[in-house]
Symmetry: D5
Subunit: 189 residues, 10 copies
């Protein structure tokens, strides 16, 4: 969307201009263009994507109910309060029922919700809800951990080592504390 691109470019130009950067210095000249491109292609690309377009669901022919988890999925997001990046890792575990999902698709759904101006709590909840809706598993658990919020770490309080963890559970993971403990144990492995 070229109009959107132009709006972002202009906003970035104005932001830098407020600090009187030297527009002749080649290190600044094209910055508004570069930043606009980065927002469109990476940092806020989640607005233009739909999980349904990127994910295919298979029938679970074997009827297996064993546990599947992908962990240590690095994600990048921007906090809606301060426009500051926050980054960390996601783990998604599910117990299949009639459908299965390709392993890399778990990361893709997480990515779609992370690449927006977000709250960490919301990313986990939206990811969990979407997997419930697409896959209809017996349950899903989304843990976002080792998350550093730059708005917390880079400003006035002494919180630069702090990290935030959120846990979203749906289906049997909400009811069964033993199952949650098992997932925790596998994440900590």
């Amino acid at each position: 969307d070229p109009e959107q691109y132009a709006k972002v470019e202009k906003a970035v130009h104005d932001l830098l201009d407020a600090f009187n950067v030297n527009w002749e210095d080649p290190n600044y000249t094209d910055t508004p263009k570069r930043v606009a491109k980065a927002y469109m292609e990476y940092w806020a690309n989640g607005y233009a994507r739909e999980a349904e377009d990127e994910v295919t669901v298979f029938p679970n022919s074997s009827g297996s109910e064993d546990l599947v988890m992908v962990k240590d999925m690095k994600f990048y997001s921007m906090c809606s309060h301060h426009l500051a990046p926050f980054t960390g890792y996601g783990a998604i575990a599910y117990m299949a029922d009639e459908n299965l999902l390709g392993l890399s698709k778990l990361g893709r759904i997480l990515d779609i919700y992370a690449r927006r101006f977000q709250l960490q709590e919301r990313i986990g909840a939206q990811t969990a809800d979407k997997i419930m809706q697409l896959l209809r598993p017996k349950g899903v658990m989304v843990v976002l951990y080792d998350v550093e919020h730059l708005c917390m770490s880079s400003r006035g309080v002494k919180l630069h080592e702090a990290s935030t963890t959120t846990v979203a559970t749906r289906g049997i993971f909400k009811e069964d504390a033993q199952l949650r403990a098992e997932v925790m144990s596998l994440i900590n492995k």
Copy 2:
């Protein structure tokens, strides 16, 4: 408060003077001023602050009851028995009900109670109680860990590796041992 500042400055001057420091040495001359400033601005600034002034509470529009935790929040306090610093990390977990709190505000409440002449047990309890009062969550759990008390480590007993842990639980965290185990597991991650 300039009067308070003057009192602190004079007390520090008298303390150093008891050891006959050389007031000509530029490394001591302005020390009483510097120390008074440090007490007012950092080490005892909690007396002049109110959690209510620094924290805003939002309605929990999504009604989410998922777990939220911030951990590894470095805190600094001074022990009321020996005026010696004690420092460590805090983790605060809560289960929201109708209200939400900005993530960095958890650290701020902890900071307000730490920046006084304190007992470690009290910091945890006051922080937990204040969050219950401001946020009315389903429960809160405050763990202060890896806490080194300089009055313990720097004096006669061989305890310089020792660390103190305190756990304060309110609401469902008091009743539900499984939930506490989950928080422990996430802290240890």
Copy 3:
């Protein structure tokens, strides 16, 4: 099977040829031969093997029902979706009934199912099922962990640190959550 060997060799030749490799360069000349050999002898050798041929079962003379586990068994497989390698570690625990198995045989059964074009979920399930069938233990638990899928890590998403874990349980391990927790704890040791 020389015919199979020739088919693989030709396919590899065609694949490289699509990229116009220089067949005079000695670093390419014999590559199709080498790759065909590697597929037959290692990467897909599981198709030509039967667990029954490689494993002997002993009567459990002592009637011991103690837990036995072998862990950190490195395995190599190729993903059926992308023909890309995926590798990780397997742990197999069982509780004996009337039969026993040599310790290195657990790794062999895992290897037979891994050395094919596979799904990770299937390797675990087939291994667990085969051990149930051959040994008739009280139960078996197969955990595949720290598994890196090259198709996930080497392509477009930022998942090169991600790892996948699958858990397959049969018999008493399916019913007894405490027993599963014990195995997790021993794996994490």
Copy 4:
């Protein structure tokens, strides 16, 4: 500077507006204000500061020529090419001649040059040059390490584990490779 503040606030508003954020949602309403405040007070506060104002220089009465180093000083900056944060650690070593500097002042000078729209190479060079100018030591060495550039880690290439190191040497550190090796060894301790 309220005018500067207003310009930043407007630019941020325009940027978010390009993505059609819901201005009614309390998670966005005050974001432009918050971000403007963050830029003025933290992220770009280096433009309004002068090292000379924050640093006092003492005569080196003892004439000591021993090595002094502060390391693991966390710094936060924003890259001039992409307006993305980059953060890491700085170590500064110097060999005193006639003047001395308070230990925490080394971090302050680094902070003044980091809190701008910068290149990592420039932060190190400007920090080293300023210390040479203010302190006139026998030499200074500035190492910026474990630096993560979000513009590198959060975009398309697979560089999210990459870190950048820059080394700036002045005076005897430029000439004496043994001395540099000693500093490296102390940083790696």
Copy 5:
């Protein structure tokens, strides 16, 4: 190039067919398509790229001769002898003369040479040579480390823990052993 794509797809089809995979199983049906796409877009995309197209060179206005290094750049390649992946990390250090390079461009040049059917020794040498040609620095050093060759680790010898390191030096890094030692020390940090 659709013709190239078709050739790869057919070759992959023939390879799988040699093992009689069940083409009805949805886990195999589209594999040739997926693999062809993966080769074109990721695993062998280096053949269609030129470093000159992706890199811009700036004049080094400050004339700085300080050391710059990017390390822990994950790379993916395929060995020309066995068509097996090999992956590891690259570190590139250079001492600028009249030109500078954007930090992320070092990773891009490495990527261009890695994404082919390669020898590890060649990737390092080609990367170093290209940087010398494009940038004309005083010298460059390319270290590829922690490199696992799947053809080595997944076959008959017991080398699955082995890793390969190659070092390519050009310009002053070839002559100055102290400088090389400094880079080693910074990589090991």
Copy 6:
């Protein structure tokens, strides 16, 4: 010295009183007494001690010139600028000539200079000078490392991870860079 004790007690009383602590609360009532005792017995006990009284020197009968080092000696001091504790580790290495020192005496000399209101640079220099004077070794090297200054870590800048290292060398350690490198290597072991 009861007079000194009384002065310290009064100063501490005045300091707390400036913050209106509740003198009825048993956690404050005896604090001035306790703190005065702590200063006399531990935190500032170095003023009342002389290295000569605590150390005996033996003739080096074997004439050995081998290297001796004690490292990881925890020390506690208080900074003369802010009356804040700073703590870390010391390593002392020497090359004997005609005299020897009991191993624990190295720690004692360090302790005597640390238990005062000090600069880190001075502790190292005074320790090194005193050992040269008492022992007349071929040389001595004192490294103080992993030193955390609470005045740096607990106040406004983001330096709570920073640590300070100082190196004082006398005799052959000043001249011989190889020897210094050996000590560094042994400290890093």
Copy 7:
């Protein structure tokens, strides 16, 4: 007690004399004196101390029932079977009822029972019993861990890596396995 001191000195003299040490060598001459002093002041000083003399108990005004633990308290003891040192760490957790204890007092009680000729099992039991008696808490748990017995490690069997753990529980810690698990989890943090 000078008589006791003389008896110890004579015993040590006789022990060394059995090995014909050279009493002229200054490294032996005063050893009996030094050892007697060490036994009286450190290694066996527990016989002359009473926990009641060193510990004060406060009323628990807040009525808090939160968990308090001090861990990693290094202790030194001598085994009653072989007169050989054994050393390790202690953790003490309690749940207060009507009384509270200063944090450093937990270490002191442990020290009083350790500084005797002891069994590890007894130290834990005596410490737990004394705390129950002095404090009347809801319960107490004493874990002694990472304990190396020199009589085990330095003699004929290959046990120099072995460590001994003992757990003593009183009150609610004896009944409540969940509570014990929480303490274990906090110790392992």
Copy 8:
């Protein structure tokens, strides 16, 4: 037993002779003697020992029922299937009833059963049974972990990182899963 010694010596001679070693080379000449001695004195000395001869049992005068564990006891055994060494660590925990055992005796009983041609499963079971018989405790738990079987690691399969764990439980440890979890937690400390 000189006859046994002679038989072992001859067998070793014959084994080496099968590989035509050069008996003149002093590195082989006395090998049969040395190996026979090693078997008699170390590797198979368990056949000539009885636990009853090396262990004394004391009455448990205090009636203590607290947990006692010794862990990280290195053991050496030889596998009965391949005559290859297997080595690892043992942990033994027991809950005393009327009798007590010296701490180093636990290692001795383990050693007696390990120093034979054995199965790992049997060593654990025999050790547990013998302790039950000698000590009549409330229960015992024997965990053998981090056990490397050279017959597994040094031969054809890629299992050189694999380790085997066996758990033998008797008495209350068999029934009480919570108690087993506590021991696991202490082993993992």
Copy 9:
């Protein structure tokens, strides 16, 4: 060689028989067969192999003189003095001249010399000499490290943590200490 096989089988039978193993127990019955097979196929297979048969040498067309190293190659050998296994890791570095070697061939040459009754010093020397002879590089360096000798660790002295390192250098690595230091640094990475 069936005769050799029969001799080994008989020797193993005689060895076990000296300890009166129960030949009826299926855990012993086929042991002599299994052991003979293991010696022929793995433990002593080096006697029947020639490096020349397993290695091909290529001309070094690029004339590159960059450093190549493979490290962490696990090897297994048996000590000629005690017939006990010793295992560890090998690193081989070389500087090519006119010839090159496939990377996995370095491990193969090491394996050929390790799979005999050996001295560690000899394995390194023979490996280095053979590479010099086959490849005629500018130099080669073979480091065998983290080597555990079971004859040392499993017998009477307390050396079970000890490891042996040997370094063999040929060509420029013998003369150039800087180059050796570089290899050491890369091994320690």
Copy 10:
């Protein structure tokens, strides 16, 4: 020597008696006997041993001058000043000339000098001198590291983390600093 044994037994009896231990308590009754045995057989057994009796020297037939090192050899000694144990690790490196030594003999010589009432400095020097005398190598280097002196750690100063390192060099290791650096690097591996 029964007379020596009796003297040690009596001395130990007198030492315990000074503390009025209860001789009826079976934990003390036989302690004097046990301790006397321990001194004779382990703690002071070095007085009755000669290195010449336990070590055989071979001609170095291959004339190899490569480096050989054994490290991480645990040793136990007793300090001559306080009769307190000190324990740590030894590394011995040598460069052979005409003679060679069995690898485990290095540990034996160290043990002979450690098992006495000693100074750490002397153990290193005596070990180095004895190896020079027995083996006549080009040089030897003995490093004793991570040495904890219980007399230092268990008494009044806060040195329980401190460790002592001593380095003794003879022959070419005394002259060649590069060679010493190589040994340090291999120890630190």
